[in-house]
Assembly symmetry: C2
DNA sequence: AATACATTCAAACAGTATGTTGAATGACAT
DNA sequence: ATGTCATTCAACATACTGTTTGAATGTATT
């Protein structure tokens, strides 16, 4: 299979890149790495995997060219080797949304139940941010927020949201976002806030896409900025 | 693995799309289907597979949402379900080129040996075509040419090229293309023609990309147009 | 109805992937 | 040096993939 001609050889390599994307756990790891580089242990914990298992998935993706790693003291930090990896994942999503019945069912059955409204586009949000018309709410865990977030975003991780409703304005529109298009955090946040009478919509996707689009970002832990 | 939450379920589906791309033979089938829809038998023959084997690869890709099929009398014709599938394959190529050492080696060792010149961009070729400055040479098999090709292109399948050199002009620049970026036909053609003193360059990719870019195309068997 | 043909399905095989366990490596701290 | 911690490796059981073979299906042709 691997080597009748040079084209076959190349295609076998390209297929390996695709194979490296071909597992739910690995796509989840890529979503996490799209936020910021991370250690094996941190990834394992967030993705719900054993450390050894996460390590194997990471090695496989590194071999395929999806990731690179560097050592930082005792730990090894992995990150996406190329922004084009995000385009690939977005492509999988697109093909799935449009051509796989089960995907459409889940989107209709779970996601649209939490938030049926049209999401806000990046462009529109960027514009309204400039005009100071909206409150932007980042519902990711604090460390992901610290690694990079939308300008002037308020960070309330989803788990704390019901306790901190008073930190949010009732009059202004709120735009919630998290890791990406199917990150459940923003959907759950939208459902919760709407139930409590807030005016809320979701950003169409997440922080990685915002950054990849070249829009301004901010870093650090502070709430104010 | 498949269903702790809705996100995991979606990711498992998206992973299936990636898995369907994860085999050299399947990428080759996709390259053929990017030219035009085709029967199982035709695909099997061109990809060098048994009919039953091709059928299984096709079924898998159809399930994943990459392909659709329709019956036409005795045969079943497959085609790409979505232009986004081409974007996905292009994404694999891009990640491979930039991040997999072996890919770079093969490109340097085989492809650049045949044609080290910068390829002509679609834009540039479209412009020069309008001005009537170039001869466009399509080296794909006749039936693929007939299904769609660049305007005013001359079709000389690679196998016939050495016998039909006199059909090509020595004075004008020739731009050769075939199925896509790593279709060997155009590289071999460029090497052969250059050896015989023609001025020849390659188009940066192939017919499917030209069509996907919305540039004008022509159909039918005639040589003149 | 009988035949021919294209495709799919089912069964079988070898080969490859996944996830677990426990041991090995490599880097830092004492 | 010794111990500790994060990561990787090796070995294993289990499940899935790719391919071949031959039979079954479904569609045209006679």
């Amino acid at each position: 299979m691997s080597s009748q001609g040079p084209k076959q050889l190349l295609y076998a390599r390209f297929a390996e890149v695709a194979k490296a994307l071909g597992h739910g756990h690995r796509l989840e790891i890529l979503e996490l790495l799209a936020q910021t580089e991370r250690s094996v242990e941190a990834l394992a914990e967030r993705a719900g995997l054993s450390v050894a298992n996460a390590s194997q998935h990471l090695r496989l993706m590194r071999r395929a060219g999806l990731l690179t790693s560097r050592r930082d003291g005792k730990r090894v930090l992995y990150r996406l080797s190329d922004p084009a990896v995000l385009d690939l994942v977005a492509g999988l999503r697109r093909v799935g949304e449009r051509n796989v019945a089960e995907v459409r069912d889940v989107v209709a059955g779970y996601f649209q139940k939490r938030d049926g409204l049209e999401p806000v586009s990046r462009r529109e949000l960027a514009q309204r941010l400039k005009e100071g018309l909206v409150t932007v709410l980042d519902v990711r865990p604090a460390d992901e927020f610290a690694a990079g977030h939308l300008p002037r975003a308020v960070n309330i991780p989803l788990r704390e949201l019901s306790r901190r409703l008073r930190d949010l304005p009732k009059s202004r529109e709120i735009v919630a976002y998290c890791r990406g298009p199917y990150c459940v955090l923003a959907f759950e946040a939208a459902a919760l806030l709407r139930k409590h009478g807030f005016k809320v919509r979701r950003l169409e996707d997440g922080y990685p896409e915002w950054r990849a689009a070249g829009l301004p970002i901010a870093q650090g832990e502070a709430a104010g900025d």
